[in-house]
Symmetry: C2
Subunit: 97 residues, 2 copies
């Protein structure tokens, strides 16, 4: 199991419509093959600067790589992530051994 | 639902025995009342500086507060967290509305 997640902060300058379009585009990532336990979350701790989280799981690194290179993901990064996201941090977990 | 998590990096100077004692102490947190879905994880993304993750869920903010103030948690912070942890980031999630 690999749990891929990202915490992010959106640009202050984007409109409500752009924000809505961004999260609609986020939801399309859930349809990429082998994406499991897809979640969009609010980040509520005052101890960091991020506003939202996205989390998903893959059974293997190969599935994760297929996701990363999938056209839906690549297009999302280009058309929605880069224009809208001010700051982010990627976190990937595996079970503790 | 509140998913409380922390990503962390241990001090390079600690011994294997200290590291083992640290994670044994981490596991005792799971026994604090109302802690659900307790997980200890390896952080494997090369895109951040952290090595491990700890994640748990509470049904309510009140349960989260009880956990934070519980003597097992307070003692853990004093006796294991502060002496062993070099850097960390707390992340708390709720469901996206």
């Amino acid at each position: 199991m690999i749990r891929h997640s990202v915490i992010l902060k959106l640009k202050k300058t984007i409109s409500e419509a752009e924000k809505q379009a961004f999260f609609e585009a986020v939801d399309t990532l859930a349809d990429i093959p082998d994406v499991q336990k897809f979640e969009v979350l609010n980040q509520i701790s005052p101890k960091n600067r991020f506003e939202y989280g996205i989390s998903m799981e893959f059974d293997s690194q190969i599935q994760y790589d297929v996701y990363s290179n999938h056209s839906v993901h690549v297009d999302f990064i280009q058309n929605f992530w880069i224009p809208n996201v001010e700051d982010f941090l990627e976190i990937d977990y595996t079970h503790f051994i």
